[in-house]
Subunit: 307 residues, 5 copies
């Protein structure tokens, strides 16, 4: 509270929430204060990888193939919420009612067909989210895909429903598709910065972003000025947070990292403006004790770094 | 009841049913206890092959071209139910009302156009199933097909209706399409394991799976870790059952097998976690007496192997 | 009535009608008993060729370009009904109200675009059929076309409406499209047998079929067992009638035949199980007197051959 | 009235109107008797070329770029009506309310994209036509285009609305698309004769046709019997009128002709069965005085030649 | 008021507004008289470039990445309104309620996928515009794109809603797509003149146009008569204004120009018939003081040049 950076960011958080409707505020309060780290931070455990990546994702920790593993981790670890598709919610969530808030993923796909025309059809509706008592919905938008027009249209209708029901929207804003691949790739600053702005323009309440990577190999493939822009890990985070404006920013963990790399990622994301973390494989691909311990380390970080 | 395996699986069956709505429980009770083997097992006779494979499927047993054959077999053999399209139900089922429960297939296709972009349009609705007194619906989803987005969308609407009416959903979860073919094929563990998870993620109540085949010829075409995974027949069954989680699993018979192979398949599927069998051609492609006799052998197995 | 064949088929006719709703029975009664040959047979005069084949179809008999010709033929010849599109019905049918039952074609196309992706969009609705007092609708389904999914979907909705209004459905079940062409063609037994089964599976009340042709040239292009199946003209008819099960079967006349060939075709279709004939060009491409005379010869046949 | 041809055609006009609903009769009466030539003839001034051909169409007479020019011409010249899109009607028609009947074009396109898959999306609805007091709607159907299925579907819905509101439908029935181009072209008798029949089959009240051209160069590209059919200008007109049956026929003027050619065209179209003319560029691409004078000459013709 | 040109144009403005509904007049009054320059002129600040061009658009003036910059500029500079997507309006506009009228962009896209089949899906609805108190909507139509049919259909529905709610429509009428590129390009007079007419034909209330460029390099690629038409900057403006007829015309600024070029552009557009300006990057890509100063210079111009 004494550092100017702390104050600036705290003001920012209030600013990011102020315009939201009552229903969205009530529901986000559960994710940001009643559950999880508790000081306006969100730590969300996603288990949509069974659909997105297939059961191969559970091989490093076979116990994790049973969604009970993630639900228990979410409960014992004290997460802000768990993000998953309707089928898993219906089959496994009842036991955790009131203990583990739900972020219902409303669209998704498998990784089997090629990604060139990436598009995730609906797997549930906002009404489903209301019906099962979810506190937010998750929507995956493939920015830049040739199917972008269909995606925008589908999102617009989901957003209209979400606004009507006071349901917060977390947008998985992912650059994808052949045009993205040829302009620096899905991890380039050009792509992720654009994805951050798209989330704000289309009216997401929160956006899930990857951390941009400055890769000298494909830097030049990006349109200018990105094509000649060098940046540090922290500058990349800082920039996309700024671009997202009043949109809450959650950073993803991506594929599994070492302990140190994960802590480094978490710390950087939080210090440079992220409002929360969506870490899945990096937690539940570890055995139970390690997963729980790492969760506590990250939560501790989230409490230490002032939002 | 004394073996630990038996107990474990019985608990599992309760666990798989517990989250279901009253209507789905009532209807599944008919299929699992009032008809068929009767101890929570399902033995379902499908006759959708006339549409899916064409009348060629009836040549080995010309009597079977008349749906009366299958209806009589379902009645005399004491099946849990018969799975078929609306046209057959309307024309042949009235005589068996109350005696043979109906699983209404709500989508399908012919085999004439190539399978690269496999997709089965609707041939009926959940309302049709309610109207004709069906106890479940069957939906064929082609996991991994380029038409997967359309399929997911179509399934989601069917599921919403089925949930609204308390109608159980059996998902024919079939890997299919050019991307499946190039990644190990539709019988690979990669593909079937993925299909099992998709069924759970999308919210099927039961899933019909094929038994995965470990074929050294195309094993390596599969993504890792499947590409380097060797497994026995039983391990394959066990694995996809586990992946399906709380989704009831029915195994299909596929094209016609010898008596011994069929019994072996049935036994393995039941011992290693399957909740039931969907055997069609393997029964009604046999002459009447043989079909009835084989049915009795399989039902006996289903009663012997504790669920 | 004494021959076993006669009895078998008569039973079959009752059997084919028994499951139908009251409304469908009432309307079919008009086509099968009140009009036309009158003993459960249907003789329907189609004039949808102006749309399907273009005005070229009227050149052999220029008078036939005026739909009055066909309406008068239908009235004077005493047909069961006339099959046509909405535009012709609206413009020409009022004068024949109550005298000539209408089978409203609800979909169609021109022959101008290539047939590879054959699909017939709707030209009218079941509500139109109800409004103009039609006694049945006709729907053209292109079995095996790459557009088959759209066709199945479109048909399903038409069927739902037809069932709701008690309107009988005659399905023009036509194999068509590039995959059909490469597997023996649209006149092969493989294709027509499949089309007959599709009609039953999808729930048509009656199906219009072509007579399959055993052509040694392309026999082997068909999938087995059709690829090695030789059959006579009569066996072909008999087989597809059997495949259609409880679906009423009407055989088409196709392009114009000689008098003898036409009578032979009619006789064979009726003796080997057909419930009626849909003869268009073979009648109205003849001058008035010849058309009327040929109609009487065919009706006489239809009365002589026991249904 | 004394010539047999005159009588025949007059009977035909009554015949063409008799089946129409009250609302359509009332509205057509305004176009055929209260406005325009006044004896059952229609002379309609189209100004949809600004959309269909672009502003280039106004270069020969720059004044015509202002829709006031055409509205004044329609009023002073005493046309049956003016045919145009919704935007022009809303912006320019109020001043002429009651003086110039409106034919609202409900679909259209620009000429910029290639014509191979020609299809005109809706620019207005039948409800719009009712709301602005139009007396008919105009719909452009591209017969034979690869988009024909979409076009048929779109037209069917427009027709259903038009029938419901008693709004007459004038169908711009235009052969178009790659299959038309390869079979003799859009001006061939094959194509226009087909287009005339399509209009009748689909249920248009009136059809706008081009005059077919017998071009020895591409005559043989047409399917038989057209491929070997020679015909005069008058025979071409006469034939397509006959093919259109009870559908009222309006002939278009096409691109600008000399005075003599235009009068010749008008006279032939009227003498050989046309019910009216839809002349646009041939009138408003002339300076005001010439346009008015030519209008009077044509109207005089229309009064002289008995309908 | 003394120059004849001034009078002519003022009459024109009245003429352009006269046909509008009460609701549209009330809302346009806010943009044309209550806010902005105030004498019937519109000066609108667009900030949809974050979506259309990506965050790269904000690099020349990093402050502009925060929408507060543009909102403050719109307020302090006294613009007629600000044009933006729903997400920005929801997050940033509340503070400026009543001070900065909103033009809600209801469709848009990113620049990532190629432009060959340009089409902007909806990002909001007219109901959204009503709900947030907007005074107009903006719609981007890609004239000539292969997706033109979808665009026309989408626009028609938006227009129907806008008419129902009395919401003025500003049409971003942009030539785009492969056919445009091959016929002289998106800045050619052919393309922009066509776009102006399309706006009028489809019923836009105002149209945003680019200033056409006479480029000898690609002049000949345009269809005649444009292919041989030379014109000055002022003639180009004058011509497209005339083509737009009673549609209000707003000219865009395009990419950033020098001070002199921008003033020249503004003056020419206003003197030769434009009703207003939509200048974005040319204002907010400048630092705050320069942006404000340039705004004042342009507003001064807008007051001096009589509408």
């Amino acid at each position: 509270m004494t550092s100017s950076k702390g104050r600036m960011i705290r003001l920012s958080l209030l600013d990011k929430l102020d315009h939201l409707s009552l229903g969205k505020r009530v529901r986000l309060h559960r994710l940001m204060y009643e559950h999880g780290p508790g000081n306006g931070r969100m730590l969300i455990l996603p288990i949509d990888q069974g659909l997105e990546h297939g059961p191969a994702t559970f091989f490093p920790n076979p116990d994790s193939a049973n969604p009970e593993f993630q639900f228990k981790l979410a409960e014992k670890g004290g997460f802000s919420g768990i993000a998953l598709h309707l089928g898993l919610a219906e089959k496994y969530a009842k036991k955790y009612a009131g203990k583990v808030p739900i972020v219902l993923k409303v669209n998704g796909k498998t990784r089997i067909p090629p990604d060139d025309h990436a598009f995730s059809p609906l797997t549930a509706t906002v009404e489903d989210a209301v019906r099962i008592g979810a506190d937010a919905i998750g929507y995956t938008l493939y920015v830049g895909s040739p199917k972008q027009p269909d995606d925008f249209n589908q999102f617009r209708k989901i957003k209209a429903d979400a606004d009507r029901y006071g349901m917060p929207i977390i947008l998985w804003s992912y650059p994808r598709g052949e045009a993205v691949n040829s302009q620096g790739g899905k991890k380039s600053l050009y792509a992720i910065d654009y994805a951050a702005r798209v989330a704000m323009e289309l009216g997401a309440d929160a956006v899930k972003l990857n951390v941009p990577v400055d890769d000298p190999e494909n830097r030049k493939e990006q349109p200018e000025p990105y094509g000649s822009l060098e940046f540090t890990y922290e500058e990349g985070i800082s920039r996309v947070v700024k671009t997202a404006g009043k949109t809450l920013v959650l950073f993803s963990g991506g594929s599994k990292l070492s302990d140190d790399d994960l802590i480094h990622r978490a710390r950087a994301c939080l210090e440079y403006g992220g409002n929360g973390l969506l870490f899945g494989r990096n937690l539940w691909q570890r055995p139970w004790n390690e997963a729980l311990e790492m969760t506590q380390r990250i939560k501790k970080l989230m409490c230490e770094i002032e939002p």
